[in-house]
């Protein structure tokens, strides 16, 4: 039983969690840094507590500050959102030691699923196909060269402790490997405090497809369909949709059922996402797991009608799965656009500043998750996500048509955003016919996509 949750995050996800808490009749306290004093979640919360300065290391990333804030406000649970401390096993353990329910997998589960190389081996054992790669972490450059020669170039060198699209580098040949191995080790050490690397065959022209799963404490594991997140820029997702255009119905159902079964059997608990690459052969290969609620979860909510944040809280509170797999109905098609404070005309350079005008889109089957308001100051310290536009349609075509209409209604002045990039994307043939792969933005320049956007009325 959870009575009072400390929301240890910011931006749109803090607001999303606040809404889920209110819906469940759970009290919520929003933890914020000094830079977020005027953020929407803080303004609409019944209660909020400042946990530190703008520097995330001393606020959102400080386990003592977050746990102390939970105790100071009489909370019995912490929701970490995504990023920050959300997949930190030491944090989950410290929270539990102070009698707080961590809304996510337990410390023990997080630890088991912490090493990317280890998880690949674990899930392969439970029947998930993985991309050919090194057998776990590579000990040194010589071991990496040997593994790479065996699986064939190009390969991708990944930080075992990395994530969120960071800590990976494509290696084209043996010379590159000799040149870059120690640099990658240093980078991984600096970014994640762990220099271990593993490598995988680098597949080109892949779809990034992920499976939303949930597991209760008894080990009942369900899947909620897949999301296709192939439109990416430098491994950062821009658009997500469900279902994926890369899977045939036959492959899809078998694949989803297999993913849910494997993750339950491997001992995972709470909400999570299994990420796969689907190659030109149409087969999904497991790459990694995300042990948290994800930015793109609304896509799944729109096609299944399941409130994933509420489900996550209920599972963390110890409830059993409130539905069966047969009751998870997937209907129609949903697409999410991540509107960020980045200027697509300038290499997606991050923007900060005051929002002068803000009008959110509306209409049938349009959802807009955002913490913006006119007069809000976008701080320069954190990630640049401003809003998520999620649109549903009976078919992909209908969802796309509604997305065009909704995007045109979005008005955000004061900082450059990715809105026009998405309007252009919705006129780009490879996106429209569902063949866009993770290499799309390398094949078609951003300038061409922007040029495809319909001109605004002068």
């Amino acid at each position: 039983m959870i009575k009072r949750v400390l929301i240890a995050n910011r931006g749109e996800i803090a607001l999303r969690i606040l809404r889920a808490c209110r819906q469940l009749g759970i009290e919520a306290v929003v933890a914020y840094s000094e830079a977020d004093r005027e953020s929407r979640a803080v303004l609409v919360a019944d209660e909020a507590i400042c946990i530190g300065p703008a520097d995330a290391k001393r606020s959102y990333l400080s386990a003592p500050a977050v746990i102390s804030a939970a105790l100071a406000t009489g909370c019995d649970a912490i929701h970490p959102g995504y990023g920050f401390l959300s997949e930190n096993a030491a944090f989950a353990e410290a929270a539990a030691a102070h009698g707080l329910t961590f809304i996510g997998p337990s410390a023990e589960v997080l630890e088991r699923f912490e090493s990317k190389a280890g998880v690949r081996a674990l899930l392969a054992k439970h029947g998930l196909p993985t991309i050919p790669g090194s057998d776990g972490v590579v000990a040194d450059e010589a071991a990496a060269a040997k593994a790479a020669a065996k699986i064939g170039y190009p390969v991708i060198l990944k930080a075992s402790a990395g994530g969120g699209g960071r800590g990976m580098r494509v290696i084209q040949n043996a010379d590159d490997l000799a040149q870059l191995f120690s640099l990658c080790t240093q980078e991984a050490q600096a970014a994640f405090g762990d220099g271990s690397l593993y490598l995988e065959k680098y597949l080109v022209d892949t779809h990034h497809v992920e499976v939303q799963i949930a597991v209760d404490k008894a080990g009942t594991a369900l899947h909620f369909g897949e999301r296709d997140c192939s439109v990416q820029r430098r491994h950062q997702k821009l658009v997500e949709e469900s279902p994926s255009t890369a899977l045939t119905p036959k492959v899809r159902e078998e694949f989803l059922a297999r993913a849910a079964k494997a993750i339950g059997a491997a001992g995972y608990r709470n909400l999570g996402t299994l990420e796969f690459l689907v190659g030109p052969d149409g087969k999904p290969y497991f790459i990694e797991i995300n042990c948290r609620i994800q930015v793109e979860h609304p896509v799944t909510e729109m096609v299944t009608g399941v409130d994933l944040v509420a489900l996550q809280i209920r599972l963390a509170a110890g409830e059993l799965m409130p539905m069966s797999q047969a009751e998870v109905e997937r209907r129609g098609h949903a697409i999410e656009f991540r509107l960020t404070a980045e200027d697509p005309a300038q290499e997606f350079r991050p923007q900060a500043g005051e929002i002068m005008t803000f009008r959110s889109p509306s209409g049938p089957w349009v959802r807009f998750d955002s913490h913006l308001y006119a007069g809000y100051e976008v701080p320069p310290y954190y990630d640049s996500l401003l809003a998520k536009l999620i649109v549903w349609g009976n078919t992909r075509e209908e969802a796309i048509a509604r997305s065009r209409a909704a995007l045109r209604e979005v008005e955000i002045d004061g900082v450059a955003t990715t809105r026009n990039f998405f309007l252009g994307l919705l006129e780009t043939p490879s996106f429209l016919n569902g063949t866009a792969t993770t290499g799309m933005l390398d094949a078609i320049g951003t300038a061409d996509i922007l040029a495809a956007a319909p001109k605004a009325r002068a």
Partner: protein
């Protein structure tokens, strides 16, 4: 909100002489204390006209006190130095920290217990404690005003 004016009168009668005396002793510009939900404030420039405010709204635990404490800037502001919490946790005030207590610049005025670790709060200015905004054992947020120091001019004492 209905208020027991008789009780408020008694409160003022008993407190004001003490506060006025304290004002003279300390050379402070203003002293404010809270009793039974009422705030009594005595100012040097208008002695004899104490302001008895309505009961203080009980701020939610850990809530931002900024709105309640924001005031129009005045000449007196330059002498006022709010002391802020350096961490989120439970506060413990140093023994000298009571209205009228003297504080030396740089001295340890409070600690904040963050999961058993005592985080220090030191005074950036010397002065005399004019107003307490918290009590030992209270939960405090980062940056919360703990108390107000007032520096005393040389010629004032």
């Amino acid at each position: 909100m209905p208020h027991n004016t008789e009780r408020l009168g008694d409160l003022i009668d008993s407190l004001v002489p003490v506060l006025v005396e304290r004002l003279h002793e300390t050379g402070l510009g203003e002293i404010e204390i809270e009793r039974d939900g009422a705030i009594v404030r005595v100012r040097a420039e208008d002695l004899g006209a104490p302001i008895a405010s309505a009961p203080a709204p009980s701020a939610p635990r850990g809530a931002t006190p900024s709105a309640a404490t924001a005031a129009a800037p005045s000449a007196a502001d330059e002498r006022r130095h709010p002391v802020h919490s350096t961490a989120v946790g439970f506060v413990k005030l140093a023994p000298d920290i009571h209205v009228g207590g003297k504080v030396a610049k740089g001295s340890l005025v409070a600690t904040v217990d963050v999961l058993g670790v005592e985080v220090e709060v030191r005074a950036d200015h010397g002065g005399i404690v004019a107003k307490l905004r918290c009590a030992t054992g209270d939960p405090v947020e980062y940056g919360q005003e703990l108390f107000l120091l007032e520096s005393v001019g040389e010629g004032k004492l």
